[in-house]
């Protein structure tokens, strides 16, 4: 159930799964691990936070098989380029990898990116050798700038983080796909399986989500649903759908009808 040789390539690394998932908001680590399994994801996002000195020292890394999953540390919670840069440097030190999901947020209510600060941070981080995957708006001009700066992909939002509204503006996503050559990964807004399929049918190279899975009544089942949906959407995109028409076309032959 896959297309031979159809790989997602980011910064020269190949991935078979086009679904990236977050590790936040699960009831417990067991549920999280089961959901990661069901999702088939190879890239998982993590946050960088202070070690809590008063609580048990249990670390997320005790649960995650790093042979199986590529960690993508994010800069969630950063509202300035400086904070995001600092977080990326710490993430690299902690994770021994250059991959970062760069977020610079504009406000707490929308969690929309502050693209002016995002561009600042991206310019510096790319120079420092990071593989930058920026979370941004569905703004083709910003995406083109991020590509020109040297980001390894662009990750426009479909809708606000955790909103479950799906892709609010497929037109912009299509324009972004026409505009940049790096992978386009829809990040944020996916609420259900069809949202993920739609992203892939538009031609996106991948989808990233967290709340859509972790917040579902049954996260493991939803993880599997998203796994199937991303593959369904990708296959449909490659298969070449029928054109839309206002009127009908019969699927049974006219010839040989009884008289």
């Amino acid at each position: 159930m896959s297309i031979p040789g159809d790989k997602l390539v980011i910064a020269g690394r190949e991935f078979s799964s086009r679904l990236m998932v977050g590790t936040g908001k699960y009831a417990n680590n067991e549920e999280m691990i089961k959901a990661l399994e069901a999702s088939g994801a190879e890239i998982i996002t993590v946050a960088v936070r202070r070690v809590n000195l008063d609580r048990n020292r249990e670390s997320l890394l005790d649960f995650i098989d790093l042979k199986k999953y590529t960690l993508l540390p994010n800069t969630a919670g950063c509202y300035t380029a400086d904070d995001a840069i600092r977080t990326c440097r710490l993430a690299r030190e902690a994770g021994m990898s250059d991959f970062v999901k760069l977020e610079v947020l504009g406000d707490e209510k929308t969690l929309f990116p502050d693209n002016e600060e995002l561009l600042k941070a991206a310019r510096i981080l790319v120079k420092e050798g990071f593989t930058v995957l920026p979370y941004t708006s569905d703004d083709p001009i910003v995406c083109k700038k991020l590509e020109d700066i040297g980001c390894a992909a662009v990750m426009p939002l479909g809708a606000p983080i955790g909103s479950g509204l799906g892709i609010r503006n497929p037109y912009n996503i299509r324009i972004i796909l026409d505009t940049v050559k790096v992978p386009v990964i829809v990040d944020a807004g996916v609420g259900t399986a069809s949202d993920a399929a739609i992203a892939m049918e538009l031609g996106c190279h991948g989808v990233l989500m967290n709340t859509g899975i972790a917040g579902a009544r049954n996260p493991v089942a939803m993880a599997e649903a998203m796994n199937l949906a991303v593959r369904a959407g990708r296959l449909a995109y490659l298969a070449g759908r029928i054109p839309k028409k206002l009127y009908a076309t019969a699927s049974s032959p006219i010839e040989g009808l009884l008289e």
């Binding site: 000195l53 020292r57 969630a76």
Partner: protein, 65 residues
């Protein structure tokens, strides 16, 4: 002597980073350390000794989206 770790004042004996992490029961391979706003490569954990009033940030990965 007194240092500030993750925003909290702590009374500790003079020691290097590795010892500190050991005392705190933290696996050095799973964290990153910032000393007085400078990131500290793991390579120098052994040779870096804490001084009075040093500010340390010890971070690791947690679940996030």
């Amino acid at each position: 002597m007194q240092v500030i770790i993750n925003g909290e004042f702590r009374e500790i004996d003079p020691q290097n980073i590795n010892n500190l992490l050991e005392d705190l029961d933290i696996d050095p391979r799973k964290v990153a350390v910032e000393l007085n706003s400078e990131i500290l490569p793991k390579a120098v954990f052994e040779t870096t000794f804490l001084g009075e009033r040093d500010r340390l940030e010890i971070v690791h990965f947690v679940g996030g989206g």
